[in-house]
């Protein structure tokens, strides 16, 4: 055995042969804890084999070859560690220098070579003596490695040299992000370094920094700059610095055709390399800047502030005020200038009588009073001679205008103007039938006309005052007037109840008494839909005209046609605890039906249906040409044969049945936080969402639990359940105070780890994240799921603990989802499912 395991010295030349390097590398790797794959004898053999092959191809080897051999021959999970180990072995000086720079105290103990014998013995036993011997004879790398190790010395030589060319070499290496190329590529001579720099210049052309030019010129690489440059500013600077005869022509062309950003960059590159630009050229370049957008492009390239050409400001003020103000504000923020003011003043100068569109485009916070007076003037001009329909449109145009550049005071002025125009609009309505729809139209656009003037206008047309007041009054007052007048109009009750959040006890008592007195069951149903708890309490002590219990009649009267099904569920979740048991039982059936109806309505929207889940079904089908024999289902084939009445020897391909499996499986775990902060409305939407999930997905692809201080498991992946059963559980759901996620997370973690074997595992976690568990505890709870590759979709609503939410999302490599409106919870979950299945 002729291998020469060289002595490893931490601060001197490292001498290895491919064999000794493989031995040392493997030994070091084996000492590291936590490797995914302990290097085997095969690895130890593979490294010298790889290096030998490389030597025969290149006829040379350098430390980078050793480095690559070590890394490539290590399985991918451990390659980062392999890089570190190989680097320590091959570039000890560099590592040491870096460590010193990082002020790390100690370098590792000098490695000893005691493990080498062990490895070599293993190689002997494996019967590779001949190979190793052949290799050590043919590949004597020691001299070469020693030579490469001298690279550090050469680099020091360049650093200490006062020759401007050497300084230029170092500067250019730095500019081309190749500081360590000398060592990495064993560039031991100036010629090698220059060749390397030439090739890198070519490689990086198109993204040269301005600092690349001077050192390149010093090194006589002007020609390369001219040949390789790609961007107009690179070409121009290279030509200018090398006094290329075509420079003038190129600059003339550039100033005519280059983009504003390229013109800016050309100026920047010239300035930074002290190549003077002709005054004429600069003037011409600025004359090309026609718009504020051009000007912004120029500044982007130039990378420093220059005053805008007056014609660009004029153009912006005259033709593109909105975009120009946006640009001006961006520049003002970046450079602390007052371009916005200048532009706005110029706008006023150019447009002494602007249209409303122009004024709205020129919304400018710092313009304030001037803008407001412009707005008033323009509106007053525009509404001259307008008919009612045009006024209606004008009111909306004023009221709906939004701009990030509007102050609250400007907003107020705008609203007041919109209100005036909306009122004038109503005053111009000339038909009774058209009056109330127009009033509704204005109110739905958040334009509230003046009440006195509207009443006068309505009166003139014979519109009922009640109808007008209904639009202005508080909805409870309107409901009160309906019941007092014994109204029995379901549509009206429905419309007004939808605007009511709660009713105070005194109002409720009065309304309930009126309804009971008149035996008006529709009114009672409306009261129940408006505030079920309060209505039940009031009805408790009242009797109908015929002496029957008002509470019983109320329970019978309630249905979802007034206020809608979601409202009914909301009332249930808000008031069920206060309902008398017989009434609660009576209502429960209706609530269950309502919950299932709404849930299934959601389930049938968008993607998926109860028939088609995410999880594919394994099925059998007749054999087709191209199917593999592996897929033949013997049992199904025999059944098919028997069904066809044939014997085994009469079988044809028609009887063959094959198993068909479809695409990947998905499991969706859903955890919803229903802690104390959940209102009845929110709880109702959670219940609807759960029903929707069960209706939408295959039973086996979804596991659901709701949690607060307790965990309410609705179903695991493998649990069989019915929608009726789930609905019953949901209707009894009680949310208590705390928010403890531990048992819920542990449960769903277990479901993911042991119950389902899907390829894709998603946890939908909805909470405000004010959880009892600290981040450390959460980390522990999430770890088993992370291990299983579960990803989280972290949904949040209202006030939430951002830090904890982000922690969970980051840990589980997921993403977050804001639930802006709880009424849209089923829709948000539905969208999330759609994005998962896509």
């Amino acid at each position: 055995m002729a291998s020469k395991p060289g002595k490893f010295q931490f601060d001197s030349v490292v001498k290895f042969t491919p064999i000794s390097f493989a031995g040392e590398f493997t030994r070091k790797m084996r000492t590291i804890a936590g490797l995914a794959n302990i290097p085997s004898v095969r690895t130890t053999i593979a490294i010298p084999r790889f290096l030998t092959a490389r030597y025969f191809r290149k006829e040379t080897l350098d430390p980078m070859d050793y480095f690559e051999a070590a890394v490539y021959n290590t399985p991918y999970e451990d390659q980062e560690i392999a890089k570190k180990v190989a680097r320590e072995l091959l570039f000890p000086k560099q590592v040491k220098r870096e460590r010193r720079q990082q002020k790390k105290v100690e370098v590792e103990d000098q490695s000893k070579l005691s493990g080498i014998d062990l490895i070599l013995n293993e190689l002997d036993e494996a019967g590779f003596d001949d190979l190793l011997e052949a290799m050590s004879e043919e590949v004597d790398l020691e001299d070469m490695l020693e030579e490469q190790d001298q690279s550090w010395g050469f680099m020091d030589e360049l650093i200490e040299s006062s020759d401007p060319k050497d300084q230029a070499r170092l500067q250019l290496l730095e500019e081309l992000n190749s500081d360590f190329a000398i060592v990495q590529h064993a560039l031991n001579t100036r010629t090698l370094v220059d060749n390397f720099l030439e090739s890198e210049l070519g490689e990086q052309a198109g993204s040269w920094s301005p600092q690349v030019f001077q050192p390149s010129i010093t090194l006589g690489m002007g020609d390369i700059l001219r040949r390789q440059s790609q961007m107009p500013w690179e070409v121009a600077t290279a030509m200018g610095m090398t006094r290329d005869p075509g420079y003038q022509k190129y600059m003339d062309d550039t100033v005519d055709i280059a983009s504003p950003e390229a013109l800016g960059s050309t100026m920047k590159y010239h300035n930074e390399n002290q190549v003077p630009l002709e005054k004429n050229w600069v003037e011409k370049a600025f004359s090309r800047i026609k718009t504020m957008r051009d000007y912004y492009g120029l500044l982007q390239g130039l990378d420093q502030y220059r005053d805008p050409p007056p014609h660009a400001v004029e153009h912006g003020a005259e033709h593109e005020i909105r975009e120009s103000l946006d640009i001006a504000q961006t520049i003002d923020r970046q450079h602390g200038t007052d371009l916005g003011d200048e532009l706005f003043e110029k706008f006023q100068e150019k447009h002494p009588q602007p249209t409303l569109d122009q004024v709205q485009d020129a919304t400018y916070e710092d313009g304030n009073d001037s803008w407001e007076s412009m707005l008033k003037d323009s509106v007053s001009r525009e509404k001259q001679g307008m008919d009612q329909h045009q006024l209606s449109e004008l009111a909306k145009q004023i009221g709906n205008h939004k701009s990030s550049r509007m102050s609250p005071k400007m907003q107020q002025t705008q609203n007041s103007l919109a209100k005036d125009v909306a009122t004038e609009n109503l005053e111009k309505v000339d038909k009774m039938d058209a009056f109330l729809p127009e009033l509704d139209h204005m109110i739905s656009n958040k334009l509230i006309p003046d009440i006195e003037r509207t009443m006068n206008a309505g009166r003139k047309l014979g519109v009922s005052e009640e109808d007008i007041l209904e639009r202005y009054n508080s909805p409870v007052k309107v409901l009160e007037s309906y019941i007092a007048s014994d109204l029995k109009d379901k549509q009206r009750y429905d419309s007004i109840v939808r605007k009511i959040d709660n009713v105070n006890p005194m109002q409720m008592n009065k309304m309930m008494a009126d309804a009971a007195k008149n035996d008006n069951q529709m009114a009672m149903a409306a009261l129940g839909a408006a505030d079920l708890g309060q209505a039940m309490t009031s009805a408790q002590s009242m009797q109908m005209a015929d002496g029957s219990s008002a509470q019983d009649i109320l329970a019978q009267a309630i249905d979802k046609s007034i206020g809608g099904g979601t409202n009914l569920l909301k009332q249930w979740f808000m008031h069920r605890r206060n309902l008398p048991k017989p009434i609660k039982d009576k209502l429960r059936d209706m609530m269950r039906k309502t919950l299932l109806e709404i849930g299934m309505e959601w389930a049938n929207k968008g993607t998926g249906s109860s028939e088609e889940g995410i999880i594919p079904v394994t099925d059998t089908r007749p054999y087709r040409d191209g199917d593999e024999l592996d897929l033949i289902d013997i049992e199904a084939t025999l059944s098919s044969l028997i069904m066809s009445g044939k014997q085994l020897n009469q079988m044809t391909t028609d009887e063959l049945m094959v198993t068909e499996t479809s695409k990947g499986k998905t499991s969706l775990g859903v955890l919803i936080d229903i802690s104390g902060s959940m209102s009845g409305q929110n709880l109702a939407m959670c219940a609807v969402s759960v029903v929707m999930l069960l209706g939408k997905l295959d039973q086996k692809e979804v596991a659901i639990a709701l949690f607060e201080s307790n965990t309410h498991k609705i179903k695991g992946f493998e649990d069989e359940t019915t929608l009726d059963k789930v609905a019953d559980e949901l209707l009894d759901l009680e949310a208590r105070g705390g928010t403890r996620a531990d048992s819920a997370l542990r449960w769903i973690g277990n479901e993911f780890n042991t119950v389902t074997s899907s390829d894709v595992k998603i946890l939908f976690f909805l909470s405000d994240y004010y959880l009892s568990e600290n981040t450390e505890a959460l980390t522990k709870l999430m770890e088993p799921m992370i291990h299983e590759g579960v990803k989280i979709l972290g949904a949040y609503h209202g006030n939430y603990d951002r830090r904890r939410m982000e922690h969970m999302v980051n840990m589980m490599d997921g993403s977050s989802l804001k639930i802006t409106n709880f009424e849209k919870l089923p829709e948000s979950i539905s969208d999330a499912i759609a994005s998962i299945t896509e």
């Binding site: 092959a53 024999l629 033949i632 391909t653 990803k791 993403s815």
Partner: protein, 300 residues
């Protein structure tokens, strides 16, 4: 039917067009050299990297340069041993039993016995039972076809390259240690640097005159999908860059106008939503629209 046979005969080709005209620079040179060295050293190579980083193109180039046939299989749950080794025509099995006559060899058998280059693409999506069928050919240089009850010698020139993306969780498995230990050299291929990708795109749009600035913008769109780890699960590949550049040039040609950011945005809206995968919670179209607005100032 006879027309179809005629068409098949006429269109038959030995030459498979490379889907990407690769530029052998930077990481591709390093990876190519590593494959070459590993091949000469008799070591099998595994290429590690995201989808669309140019792994297949590199293998194809290697096969072409070394004058060998190139076969490949992309592994998944649906790949069975018979996909690799070959299958038996059931009707012929009834007639001849399991024999050479009823056997139609799979790509692995063809490659192994004829000395070709075989790419085992997405190796870590394969079932362990399936992967084990490769072992004998790799280690013993022999291939066993159970139904024929025969061993076959693997050609000396046969070479296997594995490719996979271990960071992709969906549908992947841990590679069995027996297989992993046979593949000795592991080379990482990431998405190429901007300058190389620019050259690749240019090489693939040679029939059009597309301004460099527009290619830059195309690459900026693609590179942002690669940097936005928070929102993008699978970013755009080199194929997407080429696709957008070609579609932009072709659209401009049809309209008789210069290709510009507006047309590029339209191309991006057609190509990118299906080329990338966003994380749950957002929609690919919305993401691309927003991306175009940010990078191009328009969403077409």
């Amino acid at each position: 039917m006879s027309d179809m046979l005629e068409i098949l005969k006429r269109q038959k080709t030995e030459q498979i067009r490379q889907d990407i005209d690769l530029v052998l620079e930077g990481q591709y040179t390093e990876a190519y050299n590593a494959i070459l060295d590993s091949y000469n050293a008799g070591l099998y190579v595994g290429l590690i990297g995201p989808v669309g980083a140019g792994k297949t193109a590199l293998c194809r180039k290697f096969a072409y340069d070394t004058g060998r046939a190139f076969d490949w299989v992309t592994f998944s749950d649906l790949v069975r041993p018979s996909t690799l080794i070959g299958s038996f025509d059931p009707t012929l099995v009834f007639k001849y039993g399991f024999s050479d006559e009823s056997f139609s060899p799979g790509p692995f058998t063809i490659s192994a016995l004829s000395g070709g280059v075989f790419l085992a693409n997405e190796l870590n999506r394969g079932d362990e039972y399936v992967l084990n069928t490769l072992l004998d050919a790799l280690e013993e240089k022999k291939l066993y076809i159970p139904q024929l009850r025969n061993w076959y010698n693997v050609h000396d020139d046969f070479y296997l390259i594995a490719a996979m993306n271990p960071s992709e969780m969906r549908g992947t498995r841990r590679l069995p240690s027996a297989v992993k230990d046979r593949i000795k050299v592991w080379v990482h291929l990431d998405y190429p640097s901007k300058s190389i990708e620019q050259k690749i795109v240019k090489n693939n749009v040679t029939e059009y005159s597309l301004p460099s600035s527009l290619i830059e913008l195309t690459l900026e769109l693609v590179s942002q999908t690669r940097e936005d780890l928070a929102r993008v699960e699978t970013p755009a590949s080199i194929r997407s860059s080429i696709g957008m550049a070609r579609l932009t040039a072709e659209t401009a040609k049809r309209l008789g106008s210069e290709p510009d950011a507006e047309i590029l945005a339209k191309s991006a809206m057609l190509i990118l939503p299906d080329a990338i995968k966003v994380k749950p919670g957002s929609q690919p179209k919305d993401y691309v629209k927003d991306l175009c607005r940010r990078v191009l100032g328009t969403s077409g």
